[in-house]
Amino acid sequence: MALIELKHVVGGYGGAPILNGVNMAIDKSDIGVIVGPNGAGKSTTLKAIFGLLKVTGGTIDFGGENIANSLPDKLVPKGLSFVPQEKNVFTSMSVEENLEMGAFTRTDDFSDTMDWVYAMFPVLAEKRRQPAGELSGGQRQMVAMGRALMSKPSLLMLDEPSAGLSPRYVIEIFETIQRVNQEGVGILMVEQNARQALAFASKGFVLAGGQNRYTGTGAELIADPEVAKSFLGG
Amino acid sequence: MSAASPNTRAGWDSPLRRGLMLFAAMFLIVVAVGVIQGTASMLLILVQATGFALIALGLNIQWGYGGLFNFAIMGFLMVGGASTVFLSYPVNMDFWNSDGPMLLGRALIAFLVGLGLVMAVRQSHRIGITGTLKTVLVVLAWFAAYVLYRSRINPAAAYIEDTAGFVGGLGLHPVLGWLFGGLVSAVIAFFIGKISLGLRTDYLAIATIGISEILRALIKNMDWLTRGTMTVSPMPWPTPLPQALQANGMAIADSFVAARVMFLVLAVIVLVVAFVLVQRAYGGPWGRMMRAIRDNHISAASMGKDVTGRQLELFVFGSILMGIGGAILATFTQIFDPSGYQPINHTFMIWVMVIVGGAGNNWGVVLGAFLIYIVWVVSDPLAQLIFLNLSALTEQIGWGAIPEIDSRALQMRVFVLGVVITVALRFAPKGLIPEVVHRTN
């Protein structure tokens, strides 16, 4: 059984629905990448899963139950984590406090998780006392990911993790994502750097108009001339 | 009155019909008050309510049309009142025959010199003084100007208060006093708006309430100009006073009714004129632009509209009505008492009127003003009634009578006002007669 499965999800912010039937399934071992033009409903899909907008139709199965319209404080303990695209760190708080906030729903001792995150992002260990607002863009992205990993999620969702980063950091972030995946965390992410991201995606979804247009492995989608022409810029 | 905004929608839901029904209901309440409390008290309430309706229209221009927060209403009412005192109160010859005018003239010169000094220092970057040094110099200049002015005004004030009591008035017609109240309010509103309209809404609320308190402190303590807490009375009326009618042989009861009817007619004329002007402006291109700015600041600004300039216009226009309304109220009660002004009665109550009536809809606001004022006034006797019965009850049980019923019952209306506004916000946030969203033509 898939870790998470979206079946014909319809939803929006109260007006006309933005999602008109999205289907996708991700396993624990998967890196799923959602691509598509602006306004296709990519970020909206992640927000719908995370209960940040109203799902009016379809089901979202996660861990054997329908989690549609559950709120984040219920979803995080279930093993779902989300890294928003913008404003994804607490700027006035130290790096360590940011990580602690990620573990807010945990009542057990999370110091080993914190060590694990620091091992993955050694630069954060150096700056643990520094306010996150003083870090560079790439480091902030690491804080944001680290924060999301502190709840020990089984599925990590990222909204355009490479947005606004310099090419060097883009590669670094993508490598980190693959490493996190190898540690047993399923990944579902939205990416503008579609070609680069699909290259390491085990599942790729092309959305348009709030619906799936193409689904396949990353490599298949890159190879598909239709997809390449319409959605990957030739 | 002006033609009601044409509304083609029919049925019970139409705003027009709803408005007519609400106004009819209000009329019935007024008649009921008249029957119970007597015609003279009903007229008293009506005149005051008319004054408050004018003030509420002013706030509607600012908040309803422009989305501008103004918690300084009390300040403008006081300014209006003090201005009409200055213009219409009889001339105080003691003052004009003393050295007072000369001392005040010196204070004025000191004020202008100080102002000039500050202005000059603010231009000091032209001779190459910039940065921190300039800031320090500007602060020093403000300080020097303040000390200079204080050194001249303090003896002048003390002298006037000792010899003549206060400056007195100019003895002009009260209606001129009302207009002057509007004018002074406009000038003050211009400066307040100029410095504070750029602030975010909640900061603007706090800044204006602060300014209002500063105005109150000034008017309350500038005894030489306003007599301060010693109060000015009796203020002349534009229409014959009851006493004048009695001198002409009218019965005492009739004289009060007749005098108040005449005053009411005059006040209603002012209200109608203001209403027609405001209503026409709302429907016209100017009003459309204002609504565009209110509903979408950023896009209006990007369309090249001078948002700040337009907002300043609204703020000044609204404040003129507040000043005139404050002047009418002060004239009617015949006493100008700076300690009688409270944020609850003179700022928050106006807000309740506008929100309950329907911000953005002038008909709604006028309705709200009358309705809330009547609720405010009748809460007191109603509470007294309840308390007296309660007191009789407690006496029977042996707990003794409730002390200070009068002063306690008076507080009931504050509580009622609070209940009314929270209920309105929760269940009818758009008001009794909501703003009609105009078709774009």
Partner: protein, 334 residues
């Protein structure tokens, strides 16, 4: 020497007293703004309400014949704090939460808080009348006099019992608040929510819980501030309505949403007010012996006449808003 003692009594002690009250009030205002994003105007009346609750409890204790070495109004403070906090929660649930659930703008909440102000004011006066009460039930106000004759002073430094208690309590509360905000999970969650409410929600922080904690802290601090003010001066229904604006000034000067800023702002405003109305002649009088005849100091050399004391706070407020609306510490201004 007497001049210095006069300065200490009139400026240092009164300024610290006023500053403590402003700071405790401003912390509540600033926390509510940081978490709920609206200017809570009813905060002054929450202070009054807290003071009256302490008054009722103290009166009840006195009626039972309890006599303790400390003022009863102070002894009952913990209970009064709990009751005020519960009422604050009730007010939020009854009046603010429904508006938030509807997605109302902060301005609507601000207006609603005016409604709450009116209700509390009305109720307090309805129940207790509008006169002045003494919260010192059955005890005289003790005054500690620190003899200064060893330093050549003819007058003592004097401080009253409630003033001394207030210093201690304020210091303890500030330290406790600091520890709470920096050490505890909930305190950090509060800072996180003030910093970035959307991300706090995404992190799984129970935002409803944080909102409740905010009201509990704000309500209980308001109760302390109100009771202390009542112990120091007297208890009247418009006790705090008059200082709600200086409190807002303190919160804004310190940077809205910034708890430490509120403390600094509170003392800043308090000392500015105290110094502005201070009669400098009292301290500088010895100079009259040195100065030539024409430059003798006037009898009253205060920057601002006493009757304008409150306006000092507003002037500072208005200047802050115009020059640096984010406050001395950068507040949560957006």
């Amino acid at each position: 020497m007497d001049e210095l003692i006069f300065f200490i009594n009139r400026v240092l002690i009164s300024g610290t007293v006023l500053g403590s009250i402003y700071a405790l009030g401003a912390i509540g205002v600033t926390l509510i703004f940081g978490i709920l994003r609206f200017a809570h105007f009813a905060h002054g009346d929450m202070m009054t309400m807290g003071a009256f609750i302490a008054f009722v409890l103290a009166t009840a204790l006195a009626a039972m014949g309890v006599v303790l070495p400390l003022p009863l109004g102070f002894i009952v403070l913990p209970v009064a704090m709990v009751i005020t906090a519960v009422i604050a929660l009730g007010i939020d649930k009854g009046f603010y939460a429904p508006l938030r659930a509807r997605g109302a703008k902060p301005v609507t909440l601000l207006i609603a808080s005016i409604g709450v102000t009116l209700m509390i004011q009305g109720l307090v006066r309805l129940i207790f009348g509008s006169g002045t009460q003494s919260i010192y039930v059955g005890q005289p106000k003790e005054i500690f006099r620190l003899d200064m004759s060893w330093a050549g002073g003819s007058r003592p430094i004097s401080i009253t019992e409630p003033q001394l208690l207030m210093f201690i309590v304020t210091a303890l509360l500030v330290v406790a608040l600091h520890l709470f905000l920096t050490r505890s999970r909930l305190g950090k969650a509060m800072r996180a929510m003030a910093d970035n409410a959307a991300l706090a929600q995404v992190s799984g922080i129970n935002t409803a819980l944080v909102v409740r904690v905010t009201w509990v802290i704000a309500g209980s601090l308001a109760c302390v501030a109100g009771t202390m003010l009542a112990l120091d001066v007297a208890l009247m229904p418009d006790l705090a309505f008059n200082i709600v604006l200086p409190i807002f000034a303190a919160a804004i000067v310190g940077g809205l949403g910034h708890a430490y800023g509120a403390i600094v702002g509170g003392f800043l405003i308090a000392f500015a007010e105290t110094l502005a109305v201070f009669n400098w002649t009292a301290v500088l009088r010895p100079l009259n012996g040195v100065l030539p005849e024409a430059m003798q100091l006037p009898a009253n050399l205060a920057l601002v006449p006493t009757e304008y004391k409150l306006t000092v706070a507003f002037v500072i407020l208005v200047i802050t808003l115009l020059v640096r609306p984010t406050g001395i510490f950068k507040g949560a201004s957006t």
